[in-house]
């Protein structure tokens, strides 16, 4: 990251770079992303409680063993 230097009278100041707010020690399983809901919505063989995302609907889906539970972005 390029940081503009700051100047004081006769002193070169050291810029303070804030620490990232994101904790890089945490990991989360990558959610499978489909281009279209139609690619998976008729499938019944997903492991129970699989969570996926569809780009065409912008929705999350959880497979409950017999149905997809759907979550909108709201």
């Amino acid at each position: 990251m390029f940081v503009l230097p700051t100047f004081g009278l006769g002193v070169i100041a050291s810029p303070t770079v804030p620490a990232s707010v994101f904790d890089d020690t945490l990991t989360f399983p990558t959610i499978q992303v489909f281009d279209n809901e139609s690619e998976f919505i008729d499938q019944t063989d997903a492991p129970d409680y699989t969570i996926v995302h569809a780009k065409d609907t912008d929705k999350l889906y959880v497979w409950k063993g017999y149905m997809w539970v759907v979550y909108d972005q709201n």
């Binding site: 945490l26 989360f28 399983p29 990558t30 959610i31 499978q32 919505i41 008729d42 499938q43 019944t44 997903a46 492991p47 129970d48 409680y49 699989t50 969570i51 996926v52 929705k59 999350l60 889906y61 959880v62 409950k64 063993g65 017999y66 149905m67 997809w68 539970v69 759907v70 979550y71 909108d72 709201n74």
Partner: protein, 284 residues
């Protein structure tokens, strides 16, 4: 494949400040939970999709002489238990549905506007009042009757019923069950979908599962908290069952007059015959 851990609303784990970000799927409420270090953040379900049940049509009733006649249903003559389920979208805010069995005043059971009716004789005994939702959205209605106790669930929540009910069985004589009117008492103005009857009083867990499943819930198969498929006697899908037809025998299409709507729970028995009502592609 990414899968969520599961919990229920009564067994949510006790987490601490070091558990930030732990996520669960709550199986009885269908919520996604994320622990923020002090409390659960909850994402509510917005819809449900069954891969093997299509729901593309509903039935439209104009409030004047539109109905579907399903003939006499002997399973419920004098019965001590019954559940009636359907989805309803009124044309005007605050309007209740019209549906049920009616031989004459005092020999009727069903829902008429803002009244639940469960009578075996004329009079006010068996007329219970409730307040329909004040909007024009789709709502799930499920009425249970169990030896003199009536419960009306709307969207999975038990509603307040005012009035007196002393009858412990349904009326025992022969009359037709009709979708869209309670004989000459009232006519529905709105959309019906997925009308079903059981010879048992469904409990709140079953009701919640059906409501959470949306109109494409497969009532013929036990799943989740739903375990009453064996008591399902009638299920009219209003355009989505294989043998449903338009008037004259043609294929189902938006705007066509309803011809035959098959009882998906027992085809050939109590198939419904439409009068005036039309198919609509407006579904929840």
């Amino acid at each position: 494949m990414s899968t969520l851990n599961t919990t229920t609303s009564t067994t949510r784990p006790t987490l601490g400040a070091g558990d930030v970000g732990k996520s669960y799927f709550e199986t009885n409420s269908n919520k996604i939970l994320v622990w923020d270090g002090a409390a659960w953040n909850e994402w509510n379900r917005d819809a449900s999709i069954y891969p093997y049940v299509n729901n593309n049509f509903s039935g439209s009733f104009d409030g004047s002489a539109d109905w579907i006649d399903c003939n006499a249903i002997t399973d419920y003559h004098g019965a001590s238990q019954m559940s009636l389920s359907f989805w309803w979208k009124p044309t005007n805010s605050g309007q209740g549905p019209s549906i049920g069995y009616r031989l004459a005043a005092g020999s009727d059971w069903g829902i008429s506007g803002n009244n639940v009716i469960l009578r075996s004789a004329s009079g006010t005994d068996g007329i219970l009042t409730y307040t329909p939702p004040n909007d024009t959205l789709w709502h799930h209605y499920l009425l249970t009757f169990n030896a003199g106790t009536a419960v009306l669930y709307i969207d999975g929540v038990s509603e307040s019923l005012s009035g007196t009910l002393t009858y412990t069985t349904l009326h025992s004589q022969t009359a037709d069950f009709e979708i869209g009117r309670l004989s000459t008492l009232s006519s529905a103005n709105g959309l019906f979908d997925e009308v079903a009857l059981w010879t048992a009083a469904l409990d709140s867990s079953n009701v919640s599962e059906i409501y959470q499943g949306d109109p494409n819930f497969d009532l013929s198969t036990d799943a989740g908290d739903y375990d009453q498929s064996s008591n399902l006697t009638h299920w009219w899908r209003l355009g989505d069952h294989a043998s449903d037809t338009s008037s004259g025998g043609g294929a189902v299409a938006d705007g066509n007059t309803i011809g035959n709507v098959e009882n998906a729970a027992n085809p050939g028995t109590n198939d419904g015959s439409g009068t005036g009502a039309t198919y609509s592609s407006t579904v929840k």
